[in-house]
Structures are given as C-alpha cells and as structure tokens.
C-alpha cells in the first residue's frame, strides 16, 4: 500500500463571507507519487480545495473548517502556511500576477531568499532548477518580456527550489495558447518523473490535461466529490455530463453516434481509444449529416487595407494586414499570445494610431475618426470585465454610455431595459455588480457596449476562464445577437470556439496575416497550425483513424449535434 500524502476526512469549509459552505463533507485520499486531476465547473469549489491543500485556507482566506485534512500525515490545521509551503509547491493560475522578482533568476530564488540561503548555494540551486525547466538561458531576462509558456516554467521553477513533495497546479492551462498548453502538460509529466513528486492539477480543460496520462480524476460539483476514479472509468460514466464538464470531443462524438463507451475501450487518449466496436455506428452517423447551406456573399462592413503599426519607431508590431469582414458575419481572429491580435483590435477601435494603411467602414474611410466617433459603430469588449466596470449597480453601468451621450432619460431606461432583457440580466437590473459571477460580469460589459447599438462588436477572449455551461451561455447569446444582424469579431485562442461558432477565421502570426479561410480548413492545415501555435482537434485524429475521406464533414456533423444537445441546458 502506498503512503497517503493528502487525506481529506469529512472535511467541510465555509468562507466567512459566505452563508453556505463551499466544500461539504469531502472524503478522498491522494497517495504518494500519484498524478491526480481535480475537475469541476466554475464555482464548484475546486479552487478552494487547492487553497486548503496549500494552506491559503484557512490562513489567508478565513473561514470555518470542520473535519480533518492531513498533509504528509500531519493535521493541516496544526501547521502554519510556511511549513505547508515546504511540503506543497503551488503554481498559481494567474501567470502575471504571481511574479515577485523582476528577473527570472530572482523570482526562482524567492523562496530560497526567505529561507536565508547563502548566496553561493542559492545561485547553484537556481541554475540547476532553471535547467530542469529549460529556462537556464534566461536567468537575467526580465519576466515581463517572456511568453506565457515561459512565465509558467519560471513559476514552476520557483516552487521546485524547495524540493517539495506535492506539486499543486491551479488551472495551469488558463491563458495559454493551445500548443503551449500541450507543452505545459508534457513538462508537468516530465518534472513529475524526474522529481518523484505527487502532482495535483486543478483544471476544467479535461481533454487537454489527458494529453499525458493521469492516474485518477476527482470530479467536484457543488462542493462535493461526485466521482473519484480512473480516467477510463470516468469517461465511460455519466458524471462529466451531469457536472457540465466538457468531455473529450472524440468520446463525445462516439457517444452521439450511439456507441456505448466502456472502460475497457481505454477512452482516456484518442490514440488508445478502441474503435473496433463502434466504427460502423460512427460511420453511419456521419452519413446522416445534413448539408450545411453555404452562406451567400454579403456586403463588406469593415475593411482593413495594408495596416501597419509600431509601438516604437522602427519596430513594426503589425505588418501590412488586410482583410475585410462582411455584414452579419461571425469571425475569429486567432494566433498565439503576443502575435498582435489585441493590437489589431485596438487599431480598429482607434485606441492606437496606425502608421500606414486605411480602415473603411461601410465603404467610408474612418482612418482619421476619433475613438468616440468610431465607438458609435464598433464596440470593443475587453477581456477583463473588471477593466470596464465602474458603477455599483447593473442598470447604471449599462446606462453609463447613454447618459454620457446625453440621451433623454426615458429613452435611456427603455434602451437599457431592452438590452438587459436580451442579455438575460433583466431580473438582476437592480443588483449590485459585486454580487455577480465572473461570467455574469462579462455579460454586463457586453450589455454596456450593446446598448450603444454598434454594428460591429469585437470581443477579446469572450470565454476565457468560463466552464462549459457559461461558455455555452455566452456563445449562444452572441449567436443570437448575430442572428439579429450584428457583426461579431472574436479574438481567441480557443480552437473549439473558433471551429464551433465562427465559419471563418483569420490567423495572425508575428503581426502578419498568415491565413484567412474557413475555420475547418485552417485547423486541418498542419503548416498553419504549427506556425500559429494552434492545435489539431482530436476529432480529426478520430476521423483519420476511421478513415473518413472528409474529416471536415465529420467535424461539422459533430458540431451541429453538440450544439443542439447543449441548447437544452439553457
């Protein structure tokens, strides 16, 4: 029998600020050397479990604890956060916020500094650990200049200096582009092997984590453990669906086709998934596809012509980008972190002045229009809703833009209420914004742009950090807006979003446009996938294994089916 390292026994926790307990009666054990994934929808309490393990609960986030939690055989309550930090190394979710040092070396050394390690020894340990995460060439680089994936490697190195026995990753994939995310999972796998640690990963992107083998998955919903089993067993069960967690797409496809998934089929990875029993069913299912009518060519609404831009003279951030977006279209702009996607959206809204090129709106030149003038036509919803919200009440926040424009009170009321109804926020109109969840806040910011009635809405990562249910909610809401005639442009690195909701995608890499094609075509082009740090969806792998001539059709069939099923949740 292996040694237990984390033991929850009848453990409950209630934050002081909340009425209901966040964790209820948890009972599970994690053993030495295991790799365990904890999944759950937003607000399920999965992050709180992470906080319990690393000691932020109850030392930093105060609340009532009942039951027992033992870390390495010692009762967590009897320890302090510092002794816990010697046993559990935590890599936090926010890749930017958690850096303390300015340079890579300094940040890695932070824990050593606090332990009063001699400088000589400190430099030796930092060098060694940096080599382990392949950051040894960057020790004196400023953290601000690193890519998202490199930042994550630095924060991992920062906890590895302590020779901890448990590594805890809180949503390691959030904010990473698909290819970097894949690399992060491989890195975790390798580090675990090299250091012989126990690894706990908290994440809702199940399929991405399963890229490397996991021993066990614990499903948390509403503060309780609903399942605790091996990946194969879990994928053969109904638990994921019940908790609104996105199952791996290839498994989902097989389920839609009517196949019964069994543990013995090893569904945990698309390459081990035994298809023999359900090949026929899948093939028949694909044949039943309705031909999607191809949309007719429409008027262009927004045209970018040879746009160039540089933050500093002499160093171009955007190079001669041209594209046009048609009226009523829904388009994705994709690319890796730092490729220039967000800069492009800022240029379109007039936040940044372009150095050359032309922007046309409805055939009119708007290159020299001010931010305010453009805002009547183009609305931008920023990624972080907290960057936009400035009022206490939902109604006031949505009304802000109208009030400032001097619209009559009657009309303001009428327009705001109509918008709130569209956004499903009407019942909350007199609520304080602080009472809303992250997803609801996001909808408030969309509403506050929508109320100004722009014809084009640009959204920066509309679904970042959302679980499947909220993701569906937001996206279906956008589809509805699109049906009402709004043109929607989304900046994203979520491959599934792009595939599922936007027929067309524009790929940006290094400030250049490298592709402008149908989403399905882009995600089958391995050259572009590699260049732009995208990832092939597992559906293609499944289609290839089934020897389906047109993998695109398979994907389209899947998406149509999946959306129908998920619409029932609304």
């Amino acid at each position: 029998m292996k040694k237990p390292v984390i033991e929850f026994h009848n453990y409950s926790f209630k934050y002081n600020s909340q009425v209901e307990p966040t964790l209820r009666d948890l009972n599970f054990t994690i053993y030495e050397g295991e790799k365990v994934l904890i999944v759950g929808p937003s607000g399920s309490g999965k992050s709180t479990i992470g906080h319990c393990i690393n000691g932020l609960v109850p030392f930093s986030f105060k609340g009532e604890v009942t039951g027992s939690l033992k870390i390495l055989g010692k009762e967590a309550k009897s320890l302090d956060i510092f002794s816990l930090s010697k046993m559990v190394g935590t890599v936090l979710q926010d890749p930017d916020g958690q850096f303390i040092g300015l340079t890579v070396g300094e940040d890695i050394a932070f824990a050593l500094e606090n332990d009063c390690t001699e400088q000589q020894t400190m430099h030796e340990i930092v060098d060694e650990v940096a080599k382990m995460v392949e950051m040894d060439g960057y020790l004196s680089s400023s953290i601000h200049h690193l890519s998202g994936g490199q930042k994550q490697r630095v924060s991992l190195a920062g906890v590895l200096v302590d020779k901890v026995e448990i590594l805890l990753f809180d949503e390691p994939l959030a904010n990473l582009d698909p290819a970097t995310g894949k690399y992060a999972i491989e890195l975790i796998e390798r580090i675990q092997k090299e250091t012989n640690t126990t690894v706990v990963i908290i994440e809702h992107r199940l399929e991405d984590v399963l890229h490397c083998p996991v021993d066990r998955i614990i499903v948390i919903d509403d503060g309780r453990v609903v399942a605790d089993m091996s990946p194969d067993q879990l994928l053969a069960s109904e638990y994921l669906e019940k908790s609104y967690i996105r199952e791996p797409l290839y498994v989902k496809a097989a389920k839609y086709a009517g196949c019964e998934i069994m543990e013995e089929m090893k569904p945990a990875h698309p390459s081990t998934f035994a298809l023999d029993g359900c090949r026929d069913q899948l093939l028949t299912w694909v044949e039943a596809v309705d031909i999607v009518p191809s949309s007719e060519k429409r008027e262009p609404i927004l045209e970018l012509k040879d746009i160039s831009f540089s933050y500093e003279p002499g160093r171009k951030t955007i190079h001669d980008v041209s594209f046009s977006i048609e009226k009523g279209e829904m388009v994705s702009i994709v690319g890796k972190n730092g490729a220039g996607k967000s800069t492009l959206s800022k240029i379109i809204c007039g936040f940044e002045k372009l150095s050359s090129g032309q922007i046309l709106f409805d055939g009119q030149d708007i290159t020299h229009d001010t931010i305010k003038e453009r805002s009547l036509r183009i609305g931008l919803v920023m990624q972080n809703p907290n960057h936009m919200i400035s009022k206490n009440m939902i109604f006031d926040e949505v009304a802000l833009g109208l009030v400032i424009r001097g619209v009559a009170e009657e009309e303001v009321k009428e327009r705001v209420e109509r918008t709130l109804k569209i956004c499903g926020l009407y019942p909350f109109r007199n609520w304080p914004i602080s009472a809303l969840s992250f997803g609801q806040k996001k909808r408030v910011t969309i509403a506050s742009i929508l109320v100004l009635e722009p014809e084009v809405i640009i959204l920066d990562e509309p679904t970042a950090g959302q679980d499947l249910r909220h993701y569906t909610e937001i996206m279906e809401f956008l589809v509805e807006l699109n049906r009402q005639g709004k043109t929607i442009v989304m900046i994203t690195h979520d491959m599934h979003l792009m595939l599922e909701y936007t027929p067309r995608a524009i790929v940006i890499e290094g400030g250049r446009k490298i592709a402008d094609d149908s989403s399905a075509a882009i995600l089958t082009d391995s050259g572009i996938i590699q260049q732009a740090n995208l990832k092939e969806t597992s559906l293609f792998e499944l289609a290839k294994r089934l020897e389906i001539g047109e993998p695109r059709r398979f994907v389209e069939r899947f998406i149509a089916c999946d959306r129908e099923v998920r619409n029932i949740w609304q």
Partner: protein, 276 residues
C-alpha cells in the same frame, strides 16, 4: 507605449556598476549635505558635481524629462509660496535690506530675498539629479536588498520595491481602462468642462483601484505561499558584494560631506552672507 515615469534604465556606466548600497548611502550623505548647508559656494559646487555625475551615468535628460518637469513645477510653486508667506525671510537671515522695488505692504523685492530663494532653488537642483540617478541606475531587484542592508526592515524594503515595480503595470492598466471608457463616450480631453472631467475621471479610477487591489491580493498570496515573512531576516539573490570602487566612492562622499560641513559652519552660520 505609456510614459515610463520613474524606473530603472539599463546602461553600462560606472554609476550602474556601483552596488545599490553604495548608491543609497551616497544619496543619503549627499541629501544631508545639501539640506544642512545654505552656503551658496558649496551648493554651486555640489550642483556642478551632480551634473558631472549625471553625465557619467549616460542617462539622457529626455528619459527622465517627465518626472523632472513634474518636480520643477513643484519647485516653482514652492518658491511662490515662500515669497507669499514670508517676503522678508531673506532680510531676516542676512540682516540687511537692499530694496529693488516695492509692491505693496510688506511685499517688496529685496536682493536678500532673491538670493535666499536662489539658494533654495539651488538646493533642489543639487538633490534632484542625484535622487533621479539613484532610482534610474539601481536595478529594482537590488533596491530592496540595499535598503535592507542599511538596516531598514526587509518587509518595508520589499514593499517599496514592489510599489516602484508596479508603476509600469498600473500605467498600462490605466491606459487600457481609459481607452475603453473613452470608447463608451467618456471624454477626458479638454473639450469637456472641468467638473464633468473630474466626474468622468472617477469612471477610470474605480476600475483601476479595483484591478490594483486584485493584483495586491494575488501577489501577497503568492509571496506567502513561498515563505515570505517566515524569518526575521532573509538573504538576497541579487545583492552584490562590495568592490574597491564602492569603498572609494564611499570615502570620497564622506570626505565631501565633512568638507562641505566645515566650510559651511566655519563662520558659525549655515548661511553664506555676501551682504556684510
């Protein structure tokens, strides 16, 4: 990009090569000398010397112009205030009164007052370049280490260093928020009337404060998780050992301080009086 107000500027210069501790101590000695003396000759010498140091550091005037203008405006306000509240200060100090012209009541312009205020201005001018240099040439990671080394608690040192470090971040957030609010029609430009502009500014400041608080929360958790505050002392990864040039600089500055104090107090008064 956003204006870099006050931050480290990477260069290769003898000033950059000194350890942070040396620079901090020199800065303190320098400021004390400039604060204590009113001796115009000493101030003038220090001023010229500070410009020389500035030149050696290879920092360009342009790079610190924003903060410099900011300080100069304050200096101007300070001068106006001194005159408004105490127009006869110079006469009181130097004991003579050479009136140039009268304005009204006790407000007249005397050579003594002008000389006194020139001295005040000169004091500013001697301290400003050195203070700016200290910040611009000390790597922020060494900043906390140096403060800690001269006896400031490491918690306070770290707080100061973090605050300095977050200036660019907060500037970036500010810019993003301001732009997105502008896109909703909130006008911050001079086209809008002042009271309205002040009201509009709150719609930028509230999200800025909230997002900064969020940042503080994350960073303090991250620090705690990695054992910050566990021991009474801590070591520093980027602290640099003292070199010969550090000792030489320190000795030079101490000498400078002693000489300037001797010259200042030689005649028993802090003020150099050309009027008697």
């Amino acid at each position: 990009m956003a204006v870099e107000m006050l931050s480290y500027i990477e260069r290769k210069s003898p000033i950059h090569e000194l350890t942070g501790v040396t620079k901090l101590i020199c800065f303190i000695i320098w400021s004390s000398a400039a604060m204590l003396t009113y001796d115009t000759r000493i101030l003038a010498f220090l001023f010229i010397f500070s410009i020389v140091i500035f030149f050696i550091s290879k920092i360009k005037l342009k790079e610190i112009s924003f903060i410099l203008i900011f300080i100069l405006v304050f200096l101007l306000l300070n001068n106006i205030a001194i005159y408004a509240f105490s127009p006869q200060e110079g006469v009181k100090i130097y004991g003579t009164s050479h009136v140039l012209f009268e304005i009204f009541g006790r407000y007249n312009v005397t050579i003594e007052q002008i000389f006194y205020q020139i001295n005040i201005t000169l004091k500013y001018f001697t301290v400003i370049p050195v203070a700016l240099l200290f910040i611009a040439t000390t790597h922020p990671s060494e900043f906390a280490a140096s403060m800690n080394k001269i006896g400031v608690s490491y918690r306070i040192s770290y707080a100061v260093a973090l605050a300095l470090r977050y200036i660019p971040d907060v500037q970036r957030d500010f810019r993003n928020i301001a732009l997105s609010q502008q896109a909703r029609g909130i006008d911050m430009s001079s086209k809008e009337k002042l009271p309205k502009r002040i009201k509009n500014a709150t719609s930028i400041i509230i999200p800025l404060i909230l997002s900064s608080l969020e940042k503080i929360d994350t960073i303090s958790n991250a620090m705690e998780l990695r054992g910050f505050g566990k021991n009474k002392r801590r070591t520093w990864y980027s602290a640099r050992p003292f070199q010969k040039r550090d000792y030489l600089t320190l000795i030079a500055f101490v000498l400078l301080f002693v000489i300037s104090m001797v010259v200042t107090y030689y005649d028993g008064d802090r003020f150099y009086n050309p009027f008697v």
